[in-house]
Symmetry: D2
Amino acid sequence: MPVRLIECVVSTDEMAEIFSDRSVLDAMLRFEVGLARAQARLGLIPAGAAESIAIAANPEQFDGSLIAREARASATPVVALVDMLTARVHTISPNDAVFVHRGATSQDVADTALVLLLRRAGDALARDHERLTGALRALSERHAGAVMVARTLLQPAQPTTFGYKIAGSLASIERSWNAARAAIVDAVQLQFGGPAGTLSAYAHGLALAEALGRELGLPVPPAPWHTHRDRLAAAVASCGIYGGSLGKLARDLALLMQFEVAEVSEPGGRSSSMPHKRNPAGAVVAQASVARIPGLVGTYLSLMVQEHERAAGNWQAEWQTVADVVTATGSALAAVADAVDHLEVHADRMRANLELALSDATPDANVGAAESLRRRLLDEGAR
Amino acid sequence: MPVRLIECVVSTDEMAEIFSDRSVLDAMLRFEVGLARAQARLGLIPAGAAESIAIAANPEQFDGSLIAREARASATPVVALVDMLTARVHTISPNDAVFVHRGATSQDVADTALVLLLRRAGDALARDHERLTGALRALSERHAGAVMVARTLLQPAQPTTFGYKIAGSLASIERSWNAARAAIVDAVQLQFGGPAGTLSAYAHGLALAEALGRELGLPVPPAPWHTHRDRLAAAVASCGIYGGSLGKLARDLALLMQFEVAEVSEPGGRSSSMPHKRNPAGAVVAQASVARIPGLVGTYLSLMVQEHERAAGNWQAEWQTVADVVTATGSALAAVADAVDHLEVHADRMRANLELALSDATPDANVGAAESLRRRLLDEGAR
Amino acid sequence: MPVRLIECVVSTDEMAEIFSDRSVLDAMLRFEVGLARAQARLGLIPAGAAESIAIAANPEQFDGSLIAREARASATPVVALVDMLTARVHTISPNDAVFVHRGATSQDVADTALVLLLRRAGDALARDHERLTGALRALSERHAGAVMVARTLLQPAQPTTFGYKIAGSLASIERSWNAARAAIVDAVQLQFGGPAGTLSAYAHGLALAEALGRELGLPVPPAPWHTHRDRLAAAVASCGIYGGSLGKLARDLALLMQFEVAEVSEPGGRSSSMPHKRNPAGAVVAQASVARIPGLVGTYLSLMVQEHERAAGNWQAEWQTVADVVTATGSALAAVADAVDHLEVHADRMRANLELALSDATPDANVGAAESLRRRLLDEGAR
Amino acid sequence: MPVRLIECVVSTDEMAEIFSDRSVLDAMLRFEVGLARAQARLGLIPAGAAESIAIAANPEQFDGSLIAREARASATPVVALVDMLTARVHTISPNDAVFVHRGATSQDVADTALVLLLRRAGDALARDHERLTGALRALSERHAGAVMVARTLLQPAQPTTFGYKIAGSLASIERSWNAARAAIVDAVQLQFGGPAGTLSAYAHGLALAEALGRELGLPVPPAPWHTHRDRLAAAVASCGIYGGSLGKLARDLALLMQFEVAEVSEPGGRSSSMPHKRNPAGAVVAQASVARIPGLVGTYLSLMVQEHERAAGNWQAEWQTVADVVTATGSALAAVADAVDHLEVHADRMRANLELALSDATPDANVGAAESLRRRLLDEGAR
C-alpha cells in the first residue's frame, strides 16, 4: 500500500499499509469473526455459524471504497460492513446470517479495529526506534571526545562534545519512547459493550468479553471505554512527545549541516534545479513530519469531550486523527534513523568552529565534564 | 478516486479526487508543460521541445506511488517527477530532454500545483455552499413564524423563532464563505521564481512569468512567494472560520434532534445494533469533520515560520495540511447541506416545548422582534 | 499595568494595560452607561437615572478581583458587576437602581467590552506596525545592492540581495497587517440583543441599538451575533497570520545572526553567565511570542461551535483566548520592530559568505533580477 | 493573588497565586540561595557569602514588574534578577556580591523555578482531585440502581444506570490523574548545568548538583535537560488528558441539566437578566476551562523542538504556556468538583425519560449488567 502523493513527505509505505483499507477491513472483520467464535465457544450461537462467518469474512472480498462512501449515511462504516458480511454469510448458509454482529455495537468494531492497527504500528515504530537508538549510541561513543561549541540562542556559549550532545538526544528519545511504548500497550484493549456499553444483550457478558479478548489477543478492561478515551489519548500524546524529541535532534542536525557550520552532513538529498547541491533531506523530512503532530494531538485531546454513551462527532473524528499522528511519528522516526545511519561527522570542523568562536576556551578541559555526564545519560538509557 | 476507509467520516469522494495522485500529477505536469510552452512562446526553447514535453507529460503514464516513495530521498516529489518526465521526453525526442523544467525550482512546481488544486476545491465548495444557503434561506422563510424557546447555557431563556435562528446561521455561513472564497481566489497565484526566488535563470524572467501565468490561467504576483505564505494561510484560516460557522449549525441541529427535544429530525442515519433508531448522521459527520479543522489551521499557522528562501521542514509539511483542511471543510459542508436539505421541522413541538419551559411567556409577542432581525439578516446576505 | 513575570517574554506593558482589570471594568461600565444614556435619549428611562448610573460607574470604585472571584458562580463577571453597579446607584439615588442594565444580557456587556478592548489593541498594533514597516522599507532601500547567498533548506542556493530578502518580508507583513486591520475593524461591532438575542425587551429595540452604538462609537450589525463568532474569528486568525509573517522574519534574523554566519547583528541581549555574549534578544522574544499564537488561534476556532443562543463553555473561554492572541501578536511586533530598528547589517560578510558558498557565482549579475522584483514588492506595499 | 478579570472564568485564585509574581520571584530566589548554600557547603564559596545572599534574597524586596519589563532586553528575567540580587548583596556585604549566581545559567534558574511552581500546583490539584473523586464515588454508590436511558449520538439507545455512568467518568478521571500525578512528579527535577549544560564551571559539578538538589528538595537527573523537554511535556500533556476526562463529565452534566432532560441540576448559576433562571455554572466554567487546554498542549509540544543547548524562542515561550495549562486544569477541576458536590439527581425523571424513550425496555433487567461493570470500575479505582 503506497503513500499518496499529497502526503509523500510525511508518511511511509509501512504506515500507509497499516492504515490502508485492507488493514482496516481486516481488523474490523477480525472482530466480527472473533465475536462469533467466542459466542460459539460459550454455546451462544451454533459453531457452524461462527465458521460460516469466518469464511465470509475475507477482507479481499470487501470493497472498502463502497463502505467508505456508505459510511456517511450512518456516520460509521460498520453498518455497511455488517450488511455486506451478513449478505455474504447468507449466501454461504442462509440460517447463519442472523448470528452476524450479534449484540455488538458499531463502536465495539471500530474501536477494537483501531487498537489492533495501533498495535501493529507500535511494533513497526519499535523496530525503527531500535535502529535509531543503536545508531545514536554508536555515534555518541565514537565521538565522545569530539569537542565542539555549545550554542545557546544560536550563539556560541562554551565548549561541549558531540558525543555528549548526541547522548542528550538519545536519552530524551529513549525516555519518550519508553513512555510511548507503554502508553500504546496500555491503550490496546478490547472494546466490547454493546449499544449502551452495559453488555446487556448477553446473559454472560463478561465471560463473552474474556473469550473475545482471547480470540483477538487483547486484554479486557474492567468495563467498556466507549466515551472514556484517556488511554488512547495517552498513546496519542506520547507519540507527540516522542515526535518532539525526534524533532529536536532533526533541527540540530539541519543547523549543523548549514554550509557555514558544516559540522555534520547527510550524503543525501538532491535538488531539482542544482544537481550538485546536497540537501539535508532526512532532517527536513523529519521536521516536516514532526511539525504536523502537535496540532493533531491538540485535536485528539479536544475530541475527548464525548457526550454520554457515544459522542455525536468527536468520536467519529478519531480514526483519521490517530492514524495521522502515528503516521507522522513513523515518518519522522524513519527519516531521523536514515539520517543518523548515514551521518558524516566532521570533528575537525567542529574544533575549528570552536576555536574561532571561543578563542579563549580550553576545549579539552571541558571534555571531562561533558564525558561524565555523557556516561550517566548512556547508563540511564541502558537500564 | 474514493476516500480511504480510515477517513470515511471526514472526507468525500469529491475531495479525495481533488487531492488524488492523478490530480496532483496532473497539476505538477501542467506546470512543466506550461513552462515549456511559455518559454517556447518567448523563443527561449524550441517550439518542438515544448510539444515533446507536452506529449510526454501525460499523467496516466506516471506512477504516483513511485514518485511518492522517492520523494523522501530529496524531501520533494519534484526531483523524481522531473527525472521521469525527462526520461520520457528523451524517448520521444532525445535532444529535447534538456529543456525540461528549465530554470525552475521544485517549489515552483509544488506550490503552483497546490494552488491549482485549491482552485478546483474552491469551485467544489462553492457549489455545495450554494446548495446549503439556498436550503437555509428557504427554511428560514418557511418557518419565519415558528416560535420556539431560545436557549442560553442550554437552558430556556426567552421565546424566539426558528426562522430567525436559521437566519443567524445562514448569515454567519454566508459571511464566512464570502471571506473564504475571496481568500482562496487571492491565494491562487502563480509560484515562479527559480532556485533563489530571483528568476535569475532567465533574461526576461518577468515576461516569462506572465506568459506562464497565461498558460495556467493564474495571476502573477509582484514576486515569488516561496517563504511568504500569508495568502495561503488566509485561505486555510478562512476555511477554519467557515467550518466553525458550519459546526455551530450542526451542533444546534444535533441538540434539537435529541429525543427529549425533538424539534427537528433527519430522516437519515441507521444504527448497526438498533434497526429502528434514527441517528442525526449528517450533523454528526459535519461535527466530526469540523472538529478536525482548528488543529490543522493551527498547524498551518505554525508552518509559516519558514527559513530564508525555502524552509527546512515547514514548507514540506504543507501539502497534506492544506489538503486536510480543505477536505474536512468540504466534508462538513456536504454533510450540513444534506442534513438541511432533508430536515424535518416540528413546529408544534417547538411551541409545546416553549410553553412548558416558559409558561409565562407570550411567544407570539416576540415574533415581531425576531422577524425584523431575521429580515435584516437575510437582506445582508442578499446584498 | 505591568506584565506578570510569568509572561514576561511574551507580553508588553501596553498589551497588559489594554487587558488589565481597569480596562476591562472601564469597557463593561461604558456599556452600562451607554445603554442608560441611549435609553434616556429615547425616553425609555428618566434622564436622571442615566446620570446616576454614569456617576456610579466609576471603574476606580469597582474591585476587579472580587468580581473575578464571583464570576465563577454564574460563569460570567457581569452578574457581580451589575449587582455592584446597582448597589452604587441605589446609594446615589434609590429610585434609579431599577434602571441599571435594563433589558440587556450579560453577553451584551462582555462582548461589547471585548470589542472595545480589541479596538484599542488594534490602534496600538497599528502604531508599532508603522514603526516596523518604516524601518524595513528603509533597510531594504539601504541594502538594495547588498549581494548575499539565498539559502534553501538551510543550504546555499544562488545569489540574492539583502534588500530583496527584506522586501519579501516587508510585503508579507504589510499584506498580513492590512488583512488583520480590516478584520479587527470589522469585528468591532456592537453586541446588543438581550437574553434571547431578539431585543424583545424593548419596544424599539433597533432604534435603541442605534443610539447605543452612537454612544459607544460602534457600528450596529443587522442583528446580534451572540453565537455567531465569525467576525471575531477573522480578527483572531488574521493576528495569527500576521504573527506568522513576523515570525518568519524573526527566524531569518536569528539565523543570520549565528556566529558562523554573522551577516546581521542586534546590539542587544545580555547573558546572565557570559557578560560579553551578544544574544539575538529581539528575534528570540519575537519567536517566543509568535510560537504561542497558532495553538491559541486553533483554540479560538474550536470555540466557534457555540450552542443555540449562548454557548455552555465555548463562549466563556473566549476572553482570555482573544487577549492572549492579541497580546502575543503585540509582543512579537514590538520585539521585531526593536530588532529591526537597531539592526546592524554586515554587507561585507554577506559577500564573503556568498563567495565561499558559491565560488562560481557571479553575484552582481543577479542584482538586477532581484532588484526589479524588490521594486515591485515595495510598490505593491506603497499602493 | 487574585485572578485577573480577563481570565475570571478559566482560572482560580489558588492557581493565580501559584503563578503570581511573588511565587515566581520566590522560586527563582530559592534557586540562587540554594546554589550559594550548596557551594558554601562544598567549600566553594565562603559560608558568609551564602548567608548574605540568603538575606538579600527576600522576594518582598524585588519588583517583579520591573524585572518583567527588563526581561525583554535579554529574553529572560534572570539577567535583571541577578543584577538586582547582586546589588542587594553588595549593599549587605560588598565582597560577597561576586558569589551570586556563580557558574549558573539563566535557564538553570528559570527551569528550576518552574518545576518548583509545578510541584505546588500538583499538590493543589491533588487536593481538589480527592474532593472530586470522593464525591463521585459517593454519587455512584448512592445511585447504583437509578435506571436511565443511555444515549448514543444524543439519541436514546438502551437502559443503563446513573451509578454506572458516573463510575465510568470516575474511573477515567482516576486513571488520568494517576498518570498526571506521576508525570508531574517525574518532571519536578533540578535543572543545573551552567552555560553549556556541562557543569564545566565547577570542579565537582555533580557533587554540587546533588547538594543543590538537597537544598531544594529536588531529585537530580543524570544530566541537565536544558533542551530536552520530554518530562515537562509529559506533565503538560497529562494535564490535557486529565482535562479531557473532566470535560467529558462536565459536558454530560450540562446535557443532563437541559430543561427538556432535567435529570440532574446544579443549585448554582445566576443570570444577569433573568433572576429565576438556573444556569449550569459549574459545568460551564469547567467546559470553558477545558476548552483552552488542547491548543496549549499542542503549543507546548511544538515548543519541544529546541535548538542546540538553548532554544532561540521555543524555550522562552514555555513559562506562560505551562502556567496556562496548569491553571486551566485547576480551574476545570475546581468547577467540576463544586458542581458534583452540590449536584441534585432526579432519579424519578431519569426513569420517566427512559420509559418515554424506550417504551419496550425492561429497565430493571439491565441494572444487573450495569451494576457488575460499575463495581469493576470502582474496584479498579480503589486498587
